[in-house]
Symmetry: C2
Subunit: 391 residues, 2 copies
């Protein structure tokens, strides 16, 4: 019988972190040790806060630190991962951040079990094979249409057949200016490329403002409009979906459990559901969402903006859904995100991506990067040291 002997957190950071909407500047790696075995995972978002959720003193029975539900637990079967997940959910019911912390641990447990059994995670999930994915390049909108044209031209000449353009001035100025931006991106990509637009929740709950942009998006033959609204504004999503039949909606990166993602599909009527394994509770709940989406003709897409460990984890849940082709791929991450691993999921000559066939997530950690980018955290409560960064 194996049990979880240790969980270690590695908070890594670029020397300088900017306000860019670029999630590759910081990472929180997690290693789980069980006997002589070790698995690796990654939590999305605020490392200090996620570490605090692991070590925080108990507030009451339904607000315990994540550590209390994880350390010492048996880990022999896939069912053990589900069992510990339910324990975290119950015992940390009132600790909102707990699921972000747990997400990295859960991913590490899949990696661990895969290594022990000599199987890639996607096979543990029940898939017979891992289909190739088509990575899209993520770009920010330029300050005007000409600037956007230049940016998308570059992605296109780099060989990308799918490009997502996001954030920038969209939704904050004239409708016509937005329309010019969409058309510039389409012209730069050519008529056959897949074009996606991400507006980063800019309209919050305002369906009318979003709707004004739909004709422009349709004219530019945009595949999806991503995050027009706040993550939980299911009603607004549903209302816009009804009024924009040719442009489908995408969202879901903010879902911190499978139920919220399913609500975005059921009530928000998105056509694409985008899941970040580092937030939703790991690979298990993400696979549940992939199954749910597939049954409803909704396309599953990963959300990933950090390392290739996180990328491998995020592709596993829909590895075998061969019709769900498109995938997010961090095209130009900061050095940190590339340096974390010794091997990478590189794009092949046909512009496609394959998941490794090797055990677990198939990604090796570069131990020297853990030193190079190390952020030292120390948390003391009443003089007792609850956390100190390893190494």
């Amino acid at each position: 019988m194996l049990k979880i002997d240790a969980v270690d957190f590695y908070y890594l950071s670029m020397p300088e972190v900017t306000t860019d909407a670029d999630g590759s500047q910081v990472a929180l790696l997690v290693s789980v040790t069980a006997g002589t075995h070790r698995g690796w995972g990654e939590c999305e978002a605020s490392p200090l806060t996620s570490i605090a959720a692991f070590v925080s003193p108990m507030s009451h029975g339904a607000c315990r630190p994540v550590a209390d539900s994880v350390l010492g637990q048996r880990i022999d079967e896939i069912a053990d991962i589900d069992r510990v997940a339910a324990l975290v959910e119950r015992q940390s019911m009132d600790l909102l951040q707990a699921v972000h912390t747990w997400s990295g641990i859960e991913i590490a447990l899949w990696d661990l079990l895969g290594k022990i059994r000599g199987e890639p995670v996607w096979r543990l999930l029940g898939y017979q094979r891992a289909g190739k994915k088509l990575p899209y390049a993520s770009k920010l909108f330029g300050h005007d249409a000409d600037d956007t044209f230049r940016r998308v031209t570059r992605a296109s000449s780099d060989g990308f057949r799918a490009v997502k353009v996001g954030w920038g001035p969209i939704g904050q100025g004239r409708v016509e200016a937005d329309q010019e931006q969409f058309m510039a991106a389409r012209e730069a990509l050519g008529p056959d490329g897949q074009l996606m637009v991400d507006v980063g929740q800019v309209w919050r709950e305002d369906v009318s403002s979003a709707q004004l942009r739909v004709p422009g998006l349709e004219a530019a033959k945009v595949t999806w409009l991503e995050e027009p609204f706040l993550a939980n504004a299911f009603d607004a999503y549903g209302a816009l979906a009804q009024r924009s039949s040719r442009v489908r909606l995408a969202g879901g990166e903010g879902a911190h459990n499978a139920l919220l993602a399913e609500s975005l599909i059921e009530f928000g009527r998105v056509g694409f559901i985008q899941i970040d394994c580092g937030r939703i509770g790991g690979i298990g709940p993400a696979k549940r969402v992939a199954d749910y989406a597939a049954q409803r003709s909704v396309t599953y897409v990963n959300h990933t903006f950090t390392s290739h460990l996180a990328l491998s984890a995020s592709l596993q849940p829909y590895a075998g859904l061969v019709d769900h082709r498109i995938c997010e791929y961090p095209v130009a991450p900061r050095a940190l995100a590339r340096d974390i691993t010794t091997n990478h999921l590189d794009i092949d000559r046909s512009g496609e991506l394959s998941l490794p066939d090797s055990p677990g997530l198939g990604i090796e950690i570069n131990e020297s990067a853990l030193q190079q980018y190390r952020v030292d955290v120390e948390i003391l409560v009443n003089g007792r040291r609850l956390f100190k960064s390893p190494g």
Copy 2:
């Protein structure tokens, strides 16, 4: 022009914290200073994690610490609270715990503005008067029906006309045993008292198991069945609501924004929506939910299990909704929760509760309790001290 000069966090704890489902064992008070003015608020749940979300180094532009959106902000008008709330939402989009931290700050800002204007918060919210509320006593189910009978008899003889019984063995054993429990509570309370049952998410998403208990709940004339399912299981709530017309469902304490509470009403069809101001983002979003509920004949109820500062805050959003009578009241909190404030919202001889007419939240902090129950937290990142408990 006033601006937010300082935000201070006071982590307080009983000497011993147990696994009881009793949220009064620990508190996180927040004081906001603007010029010579000071307001107080309280965050629900894990103090260390919520402090970390305030000071955590930025991960990227949409994952900034709460402090970055709050400190130095102008605070002259109620509209300033909304403006800062939107800023936190945007700049901490990927920091899940941020809203718990912000909740306490937001409450403190209402207290501060009320004190500056010499008005109680409920008047700032637009209410002409604050109606009396009928507090219910919260009790845990006993290990069997006889035990439960004794517990509810005690609450009844203490003068409570409404009693909520919760958790314990319900949902985990025989349906008949649960039925005996419900009937024992009803017998102890008498035919006229209001009886509520809280099962603490025990059935997760399992509608059938919940449905088996509905006849027993109906026979015991239970006003509401609280949290049969996970906080975001809107579908399961909706399905059960359809099959239990005489017992209405209650939930919402886990909502960390107004949209989630509204989804529980719209899709989950609850008859009672229970909001914790210390989690949902403070008094503003709670008021929005109260308005939404009132328009849909859903009854708003506070969720409160800590101090009388939190209690006052949680009653403000529905102070003027006179038909929404019932309120949660921490009947037997740990000493800490009572000692935090010098004045209290006590139950009058008719068994009712009135909100203070004094400025802000109308509750004074007991500074000596801040010392007595003080938990000392120190957070260091790369040798730099990001947080140290005051005092």
